[in-house]
Structures are given as C-alpha cells and as structure tokens.
Amino acid sequence: MTGRSILKLILVVFVTLLVQSTIGVDITIFGAHPDLMLLLPIAAGIAGDAEEGAVMGFVAGLAADLLLPTPFGLSALVFCLVGFAVGASTGAVTREVWWFPPLVALAASAVAVMLYAVIGAVLGQEQFLRVDLAGIVAVVAIVNAILAAPAVRMVGWVLGPASGDGARPSMAGGRW
C-alpha cells in the first residue's frame, strides 16, 4: 500500500465521517438517519474485491465507532463482514449496468443494519432489537441506494485503476 493510497483512504473516510456527523445526523426520516459510513465498504466491495471491501469496512467502521455511543468495534466488525460479502458475492457478476450499484447497496445496507442490531443484541445491547428496525433499514437502504453510484466512483478513486490482468492490487498489501 503506497503512501498516496493511504492518504486517499484517510481523506475519503474523514470527509464521509464529517458529512455523516453533520448533514447525516441532521436528516431524520421516520426517526432514522442515513448511514453514509456503511456505504464505503459496500462501494469498495463493488468497485474492488472482497478483500478491499473488508479492509475499507474495518477502517470506516472503526472511524464511525469513534463518534458513536454504541460499543466500540461493533461497526468495524459489521462493516468489514458486509464489505467482504459484497465483494465476494458480486465478483462474478457483470457490474457495467447502471442499476447494479444501487441494487447491491440497497440489499447490503438492509442486511448490514439487521446484522448490526443482532450482533449488538448478542453483545448485551438488547435494545437494538426494540428500536423501529424496519424504519431504520428502509431509510439507510434507500439513501445508500441513491448515493451508491457516486460512492462507487469515489471509492474507485481510492482503490485506483485495475491492473492489466484485470486484478487490482490489493488494499491489504502488495503493490497497492
């Protein structure tokens, strides 16, 4: 991983966190906020591969956890699982159609919110299952679906162009 790539990653995570903690929390639809940080690993899974999705998920989740009152590390865990799952499950699918990123973001966001609630409950935060989960799932999934295309473009800038053999150098190490 080059210094420039690390700087790009930090910049994108920082800016997204800034937007989430200012505009994101100000937007309340049916009592729920959008979750823009969750969009980063999903976009990394779409623009890159499973490994890049997982690494982006861990970094974005940890950054989000810094400002959340919920258990530290919970977002990192859920986001890295979701980023990995998106990258792994969409690897063999053609990604050129316009509706692909919104559709994946919609489904992955819905799964991520439910996973977050369930793991949170397992970790002793039973109230995570008492909230209006359907409302949160709907708001987060729809907003992320709308913003998926620009998010994939932004994360693609972080990941860099694919190499000649079609495989992009990994975020986790090697040439990237």
């Binding site: 966190l17 800034l18 937007v19 903690s21 200012t22 505009i23 929390v25 009592g31 729920a32 906020h33 979750d35 591969d49 499973a50 490994e51 997982a54 690494v55 998920g57 861990f58 989740g61 940890l62 956890d65 810094l66 400002l67 959340l68 009152p69 919920t70 258990p71 530290f72 590390g73 919970l74 990192a76 865990l77 890295c80 699982l81 990995f84 792994a88 919110v113 977050y116 609630a117 949170g120 970790l123 002793g124 935060q125 039973e126 109230q127 995570f128 008492r130 909230v131 209006d132 949160i136 987060v140 495989a167 990994s170 986790a172």
Partner: protein, 292 residues
C-alpha cells in the same frame, strides 16, 4: 495457482480483521479496556469537533439557501409584507424573538431551583445542546461542556421538568448525554409511600417502562416518579423523572405492566444542567470537584 493463493489471502485478511474487531469489542466491554477505548473516543471527539463545527458553519448557509429555494412561494409573499417594514426594526424584532425564546428556555432550566434541597445544593454546570442523537440505535445528545468544566462520566443531567439523562462520555469541551428514553438507561425511582422500582428506557419516542411493580401494589395514573438515591444509586435522590401514563394488570403475571412519560420535554432540550454528583456508598448527596 495464483487465484487460490489470492483467495486464501483474502480469507486470512477477513479473519484478522474480524479477530481485531472482536478484540476491540471485548476490550470496550471490560472495565480497564473501557477506560482505554473511552479515552480514544474522547481524544477523537476533541480532534474532530473543530472540523465538525467548521463544516457546520459552511453548510448551514447553504442549507438555508436551499430551504429558501424550496419555500420560494411562501418566502416571496412574506417578503412583500416585510418590505413594508423598517429593516432595523425587523432585525430588532428578530433578535428580541430569539432572545425571548432563549430566555424562556433558561427560565425553565432555572425553574429547577424548586428541586428538593439536597439537589439544589449540588454544583451544576449549565450547557447547551449542540447535536442530537448520532446513532440510529441510541438516544443521546451532545452538549457544549466537557471535562474542562468539571463534567465527568456518570453525572446526572436535568432540564425543564426533571431528569434528562446521564453523561456517558466526556471529552475536553463536549459531553455525550444518554437520554432516559435510551434502551440502556435505567434509574431507580421511588413513588407513593416509599415504594421502590426501576424505570427503564425503551427507545426514542417510546414510553418508559416501570419494572418491579407487584400486582398488589397500589399505583395510579399521573403518579410522579422521583429518583430514590439509595446507597450506590447513580443519581441524587428526589429528582423528578416521569409520570405514570398507563397501568395494566395481566392475570397471573408477577408484576404490573406500567408505562410512564418523562417529565422533561426531551424534544426541546436547548439548555440543560449537569449535576456534578458522585455516587456515595450511603446515598448521601456529594458534589465532585471540577477536574481539568
């Protein structure tokens, strides 16, 4: 051969990241580890706050511009009316209105001087709400006072009407307050003739649940619930908390199904007061010294 190696490495990366996350979660859940993660969160909040504040200063006018564009028709009509008025007087009126609103809020906060004597004598820090809840899974507010003003984790927060919540995180200049509607919030209360129970939050917008009320207990709607201040309690005693709104007795149940609403208006928490109180083994009110 390259593909299996790559997929093996991908899996290894995932396992490492998951283990790292689980380790961090475990650390956060343990006593000593929690102070470490709280410290990291506190430093991060201190570092991030100026950026957030600066970004808000930039986007607020833009947001107002777009709000104006959305309500263009109404604004145009309003503008015609306003043109007939003197600009200076208009500004004065706007200022007076804002100040009046602030005054009303502050008067409500000051009205808490009618609190029972033990609470009145405790040191308090007035604070302004600068952000509402940041998570979809927690009910919190952020206030503009922190450790430098003597606020520590565990301090009770009160406002117009009564208890608002508890400080769960304090950075140098801000603090996060867990509201009493949060699902993790619990407070020991007393009502009626020295009857004790536990009041628990059930999530934003939902009523509070009163636990440990036996079916034989005499309890009526509108009964006021105040903090009990028992030994080891997290709050000083006699702070008004909530009022009972519904009582249901299910036959065969071991306790009554009692719901209550907060006395404080959690929807308009512009100003709050942080009570600097540390729990004592005897339950006696004890102020804590401001820390820097």
């Amino acid at each position: 051969m390259a593909k299996p190696r790559r997929s093996r490495r991908t899996l290894t990366t995932l396992v490492v990241l998951v283990l790292l996350s689980v380790t961090i979660i475990t650390l956060d859940a343990s006593g000593k580890g929690h102070s470490l993660t709280s410290g990291i969160k506190s430093v991060a909040t201190d570092v991030f706050s100026p950026f957030r504040s600066g970004f808000n200063d930039i986007i607020d006018p833009i947001g107002e511009f777009f709000a104006g564009a959305v309500h263009y028709g109404a604004l145009e009509q309003e503008n015609h009316k306003l043109q007939a008025q003197n600009g200076a007087l208009r500004q004065q009126a706007a200022q007076a209105s804002a100040q009046k609103h602030q005054l009303t809020q502050l008067q409500k906060v000051l009205a808490l001087n009618t609190l029972p004597a033990p609470v009145q004598t405790l040191p308090k820090v007035a604070a302004e709400t600068i952000a509402t809840t940041t998570s979809n899974f927690a009910s919190t507010i952020t206030i503009n006072k922190g450790r430098s003003q003597g606020i520590v984790v565990g301090d009770a927060v009160i406002s117009n009407g009564g208890l608002v919540g508890r400080v769960i995180q304090a950075s140098h200049s801000t603090a996060t307050v867990q509201l009493l509607t949060d699902g993790q919030f619990k407070v020991g209360i007393v009502y009626g003739n020295d009857q004790f129970a536990t009041l628990q939050g059930q999530g934003a917008g939902k009523p509070l649940a009163l636990n440990d009320v036996s079916p034989n207990t005499k309890i009526t709607k509108k009964t006021a619930l105040v903090t009990n201040g028992l030994a080891g309690a997290q709050f000083p005693r006699n702070i008004p908390v909530a009022r009972i709104t519904s009582i249901h007795t299910v036959s065969g149940a071991t306790q009554k199904d009692v719901l209550a609403e907060p006395l404080a208006d959690l929807g308009t928490l512009t100003y709050v007061q942080v009570v600097q109180w540390s729990p004592s083994p005897t339950g006696a009110p004890t102020g804590h010294a401001p820390t820097t």
